[in-house]
Amino acid sequence: MAVTGALRTELAEAVSSCRVLVVGAGGIGCELLKNLLLTGFSNLDVIDLDTIDVSNLNRQFLFQKKHVGRSKAQESVLQFCPGASITAYHDSIMNVEYDVEFFRKFTLVMNALDNRAARNHVNRMCLAADVPLIESGTAGYLGQVTVIKKGVTECYECQPKPTQKTFPGCTIRNTPSEPIHCIVWAKYLFNQLFGEEDADQEVSPDTADPEASWEPTEAAQRANASNEYGDIKRVSTKQWAKSTGYDPVKLFNKLFKDDIRYLLTMDKLWRKRKAPVPLDWASLHNSEKDSTEQNNASSVGLKDQHVLDVAGYAQLFSQSVETLRDQLSEKRDSAELVWDKDDPPAMDFVTSAANLRMYIFSMNMKSRFDIKSMAGNIIPAIATTNAVISGLIVLEGLKILSGNIEQCRTIIKEKFGMVAPDVQIEDGKGTILISSEAGETEANNNRKLSDFGIRNGTRLQADDFLQDYTLLINVLQSEELEKDVEFEVVGDAPEKAPQKPLEEGAKGITNGSDDGAQPSTSTAPEQDDVLIVDSDEESPSSSSDVSMETVTLKRKLPDEEAVSNKRKRMEPSAEQEDDIIALD
């Protein structure tokens, strides 16, 4: 094959003889299989639990419209490269039969997964079987590839990942304060009504809310306030809904009027919060005519991106309940519907129910498009990033096969950058070294660090307000830096500051996982510690205040203070350096 020109003979042999497991045949998986086969790999196993969906077709090129609904793993290997031996499993990699013995059969394992649970699992199995793993993920224009090898590199779980955001039950049931709470509620409601009932997904008001803490005397009052509710409560939501024949109006009035009135009786909840406002089907439909003042700016663009008014969502709610009821009755007895973000009626139901609840709780309603992102944990996926990343995976695989594991890099497409830092010394006085305000601290540029009382062990705090990002810097001293190297950053440079959620919602890298209830962009600002080893060599100060490093760290300690302080590395910097590849 053509590649033998570029691969050394021994490597070409290793490539054609080794057995590789590809976990996942989705966006990255399709590209990866193609790349492996065309690089000369001929002994592959591929496993994927999923079937093919229409929304996969914009990037998963091994599939066509006629394949929708079929197994990804099996379909992906049918067509091409008859010379290669490929085994396909339409199954979950987390099944017990894929045990350590199974993993030991492979020279290399490559992950092309979309969720963290499976990633964690494969990571552990590869460590147990001592097989090198290449982990990867993409999210929009961003992507990453990492090599994991027992005893050599970090493993997938060495660094804590932002966990799936869970919400306390009472927030969902009683006191939602963000759109996501209403969306989660609406998904729960879907399952309560049409799907598999789950006691952890209760949607009705939670009387055990510690915050509500009822006085016994008030209980009777409350019971009176919601007579109907008392009847309903004894049966499950689903049974009750069935008994009404899934009457949309009855459902609407229970969920958006009676339940809310009941919540209002728990008045402690509303002392500091804005109380919800119940909706009434009948009055909503009377006032429908004067609700002409639509959101004017959203008259262009796709239907999905419009935000309707309350009456519109009430209408959508009623339609979707009827559609789903019919779908349910077409199934055999006791059958259930499964929520799927790509199923239009299910998505309509969640959009309308979530928006009605947002309205009740005084939140700004969201478009179907946005709700789909949040409810489905959609990570935008495109062909180009997958192509780039799968190219990189194979290159890392080649390096492992040629025995150069130490050459493998963690590749991330972007690293951190401070936009407008303010740096102060943590000395209790808050002496300011650098200000984001131009000119304010220019006078400091020619002074030495020691002039500010900064010495070995001083902590600096750098705030970047533009990014809501704080960095703590421990200044260490060293005399052993190479010439011309003015400082060194020990320890990990933190990832880029968490971006503020943009209007469009999800941006930011989440390793392609879809198990976080929210994109990682909305996590709270984290504090990262960075250690800086400073040399005591004098050097001219730079006048610019462009980046934190060039300004702070060029001010050096005078010699006399350096004597006792030999280079101390407070933290081993064992990990390989992250390389930056700018692809865009």
Binding site: L38, A387, I432, I581, D584
Partner: protein, 533 residues
């Protein structure tokens, strides 16, 4: 996206989240030409066909060889000996029924001889594996008719891309950390009026804690302004003091303990960004003073007419500020207060855009174009993004290759580090010279690798000498390039296919910012660099 738009919306759901439906529309009306269906070429096209490019045309006079089948997914054994343009077109088209594929089984040189205007009907031309002379001819033809050209090359473990476009204007550059456009330092009259409706000192507790933070900051800023001789907090210290000032406004309960007012916390958190001075960003000022903005003619593109209209607005009604963006971030507030505030910004943005629209009509009339030839929608989009406008102007290939115009000093200074990625650029120029002299690339057959080393070194040195580049290239690189034998490993083609298609999408959708003008990828060390050559 007229018919079947629901299915399309579903199919393209994930990418619509990145470039929007207008980006998708631009993609669907684009016609891309690929010169040479190499592995890199078909990988690029694959990544354009999948997201639904309108149509593509493959120009390739070669027939499929065994080697092609080895590294190209879109060619198979059965197609050996057939037209490479036709076979790869057929397989690529299978990927997406919405896309139209065409092919021309002719060499680009022939086309350039007989019908150079052929290439001028495309939105974008992508060229792979062209000889230096053909490439220069193609580049010249496209340069003179202002068609963008993207040159891509996978050579062993090295990737190369070059964008050649006279001028590429970007309205939606999608900046990563854009600041909100709130104008709190210079509140417009409608905002000032709206602020009058609030009296934070005499409010129900519920209303107090549901007042949007923008109003909280604006109110306290007004007071600060009065007490500090018309200044707003600028320094870090002043900003800290201003934060404390806001904190003191948090209501206290009967025991004097501050209440939990999340809107005030938001206000404190947002002080720094909210107090950002409103001014015209330097990239936009550069656009305003550009000759093309000053001289609007019949040839002026919509971008320049819009830029000029915004400039007039800024100088006149805007009193030095750009049209208002008109969006505010999500925040803790009750719907009523939020929507009212949102409408204040929205209305102002709408009014600003209408004023800009008047300028646009006048400008259009002055060059004899009908006033409605730029839609209201486009004007609004432009106004919303006017702080982020970008222009990319690349040098032509002729300038890069001209002995007098080449960026010799830059190259020499990059080469102060002998392992700088620029060394791969030099090596590619050397192998092209080798090809010109010997009619083949070095080291294509294993037995040639050693004997070609000296020849390649000679080519490299004659190239360096011709350009007066006094620098030396490590023998290792010459050796490595001989060993590559011009092979195009599929995995490099895949990487480059993704990266190049992404640039192509940026060029077509005019969203995000393209690189200027040369990108080099080193697959051995996983590093990359861009250069302006």
């Amino acid at each position: 996206m007229a018919q079947g738009s629901v299915v399309k919306e579903q199919k393209y759901d994930r990418q619509l989240r990145l470039w929007g439906d207008h980006g998708q529309e631009a993609l669907e009306s684009a016609h891309v030409c690929l010169v040479n269906a190499t592995a890199t070429g078909t990988e690029i096209l694959k990544n354009l066909v999948l997201p639904g490019i309108g149509s593509f045309t493959i120009v390739d006079g070669n027939v499929v060889s065994g080697e092609d089948v080895g590294n190209n997914f879109f060619l198979h054994k059965g197609s050996i000996g057939k037209s490479r343009a036709q076979t790869s077109m057929e397989l690529l088209q299978e990927l997406n029924e919405d896309v139209t594929g065409n092919y021309v089984a002719e060499n680009p040189d022939q086309l350039l001889d007989n019908d150079p205007s052929f290439f001028c009907k495309f939105t974008l031309v992508i060229a792979t594996q062209l000889s230096e002379s053909t490439l220069l001819r193609l580049a010249e033809t496209l340069w003179s008719s202002n068609i963008p050209l993207l040159v891509c090359r996978a050579y062993g473990f090295v990737g190369y891309m070059r964008i050649i476009v006279r001028e590429h204007t970007v309205i939606e550059s999608h900046p990563d950390n854009a600041l909100e456009d709130l104008r709190l330092d210079q509140p417009f009259s409608e905002l000032r009026e709206h602020l009058q409706l609030y009296d934070l000192n005499h409010m129900e507790r519920k209303d107090h804690s549901h007042t949007p933070w923008i109003i909280v900051v604006a109110k306290y800023l007004g007071t600060w302004h009065k007490e500090n001789a018309g200044q707003i907090p600028k320094s870090y210290k002043e900003k800290e003091a201003f934060r404390d000032f806001i904190r003191q406004g948090i209501l206290k309960n009967e025991n004097g303990v501050p209440e939990d007012e999340e809107n005030f916390e938001e206000a404190v958190k947002n002080v720094n960004t909210a107090l950002n001075t409103t001014k015209v960003p330097s990239n936009v000022e550069d656009i305003f003073i550009d000759e093309r903005c000053k001289n609007i003619t019949q040839q002026s593109s919509d971008f320049w007419i819009l830029a000029r209209a915004v400039k007039e607005f800024t100088a006149c009604e805007g009193k030095g500020n750009l049209p208002l963006r008109g969006t505010i971030p999500d925040m803790i507030a009750d719907s009523d207060k939020f929507i009212k505030l949102q409408n204040v910004y929205r209305e102002k943005a709408k009014n600003d855009a209408s004023t800009v629209e008047n300028y646009v009509s006048k400008l259009l009339q002055s060059v004899g174009r009908p006033p409605e030839s730029i839609s209201e929608k486009d004007i609004r989009l432009f106004c919303r993004n006017c702080a982020f406008l970008r222009i990319v102007r690349c040098r032509s290939l002729e300038e890069e290759y001209g002995v007098d115009t080449a960026k010799k000093d830059d190259i020499v200074s990059f080469m102060e580090n002998p392992d700088n990625e620029i060394v791969f650029y030099l090596m590619m120029r050397a192998v092209d010279r080798f090809h010109k002299q010997h009619g083949r690339y070095p080291g294509v057959y294993n037995y040639q690798v050693d004997s070609d080393f000296g020849k390649l070194k000679t080519c490299l040195n004659s190239f360096l000498q011709e350009y007066g580049l006094s620098l030396s290239v490590k023998d290792d690189y010459i050796q490595e390039f001989c060993r590559y034998g011009a092979a195009e490993p599929h995995t490099i083609a895949s990487f480059l296919g993704g990266a190049a298609a992404q640039e192509a999408i940026k060029i077509i959708t005019k969203q995000f910012v393209i690189f200027n003008n040369t990108f080099i990828y080193n697959a051995m060390l996983q590093t990359s660099a861009t250069f302006q050559l």
